[in-house]
Amino acid sequence: MSVEGPMPGGSACADVAPDLAELALGVLTGEDRARALAHVERCEECAAALARLGAVADGLLAAHPEADPPEGFSQRVVSRLEPGEPVAHRPVPGRLRERDVARPPVAVVAAAAAAVAAVALVAGAGFVLGRTTGGPGGSVAPPVGAARPLGIEVAGLRAGGRRVGQVYAHGGSSPWLLVNVDSLSGARSVTCEVTATDGRTVVLGSFWIASGRGSWAVAVPLSAGPLRGARLAGAGGAVLASATFSP
């Protein structure tokens, strides 16, 4: 149903509907593409139709066979990684499923990234998730399936006893946090804060929830120190969901 503009099933939807399959396949060009993208951005019904066609296009991509790349492939890729400042992984809210990274929604993200990167440069006493050293043997298992540890920890995000998403955290010299919300109804904008093992709370910023879903990654200031968990608060400050890392 159209939130704004034409009525549901109106002429705009009828005009765009024939183009959605080509849009999903990435072969719609020019004015037709621009018109379809603009319409889908504001029409839930057509956005849903596009998402379903996008799943078909994804299925076709997944139907291609895997193949072993030439010897040394992964090393050549890694050797070409350009260093750079950490940036915020902060997708722009919206319904549009943009399938071409040649046209990323850069402007909003870049602004957020700059702000977060500045925070990340704050020097501090150090950031480690959970226990720092020498915990009980049962709590420090060797890495699974990796020659070197990735050092990423995950905790379930829960609201009222129900799992509503996940929180990932990475320590090291450039700590960051990723929050994936899968089903948190009734929230539009949430503030993410982390709690340190010494009881301090550090507010990391806010992000949008759309249709119960949202995803946000952010650099964590080193000064936050070892973390106990993370939580999401609503506009009024009430805690809506929380996650606790294993001690």
């Binding site: 399959a21 396949l25 996008g54 291609h64 902060r90 070197r148 090291g172 010299s173």
Partner: protein, 203 residues
């Protein structure tokens, strides 16, 4: 092991084997090379396989696959898991790059005068379709469609042809080409919906 703030510390790493794709992308956005290494190792066969199946050229496929993974590194900050799974995002990047490469070397004429000159002798579309349908996965995915819809979808999906180009290649009106793409995709979508546990979704 990480050196943090001058103090040697140990990290809990029990989750390394089950780190999600989304977490790895977030790590890449934070310019964490270990996340990138894991990501490359996790996806190199799929990305290279896609490029190779589209290009049929090992050297070119490696170039495309490398570039796709590097673009994932560069654009990790704008990836949105609410909009597409990581695999779809990455494979779409690879496909777009492969299509760019195909367009550079494309022998199938898309110019009206070229089409007119060649008349009915142009068989390159047939060869392209046969090559794509020789891939078992695509053959399975598209095998249930009527031949004309299957041809249109192969040309659009695997070779990046627009409806206008398909219309010229197949010598059919633009509207017919669009209808074939749309109808073929709708049938695949219905088949996907019918096979899903959620049973068909909304209208």
């Amino acid at each position: 092991m990480h050196l943090v703030g001058g103090e040697r510390s140990s990290r809990v790493t029990r989750w390394s084997g089950t780190v999600s794709d989304e977490a790895l992308v977030a790590g890449m956005a934070a310019r964490d090379e270990r996340s990138a290494e894991e990501f490359v190792q996790r996806y190199e066969r799929r990305v290279y396989g896609l490029a190779l199946s589209m290009l049929a050229d090992r050297a070119l496929a490696e170039d495309v696959a490398q570039e796709a993974l590097l673009r994932a590194w560069r654009h990790a900050a704008v990836f949105d898991p609410a909009r597409a799974p990581v695999a779809s995002w990455l494979l779409t990047i690879a496909r777009n790059l492969a299509i760019d490469a195909l367009r550079l070397r494309r022998s199938v004429p898309v110019d009206d005068e070229e089409i007119a000159r060649l008349g009915g002798d142009d068989r390159s579309a047939d060869r392209a379709i046969e090559a794509a349908l020789a891939l078992p996965g695509l053959k399975d995915a598209l095998g249930g469609l009527p031949p004309e819809q299957r041809r249109a979808l192969v040309l659009a999906h695997a070779y990046g042809y627009t409806a206008a180009e398909i219309g010229r290649m197949e010598r059919i009106p633009l509207g017919t080409a669009k209808t074939r793409i749309r109808t073929g995709m709708a049938k695949l979508r219905d088949s996907l919906d019918g096979g899903s546990e959620e049973g068909g979704g909304r209208s």
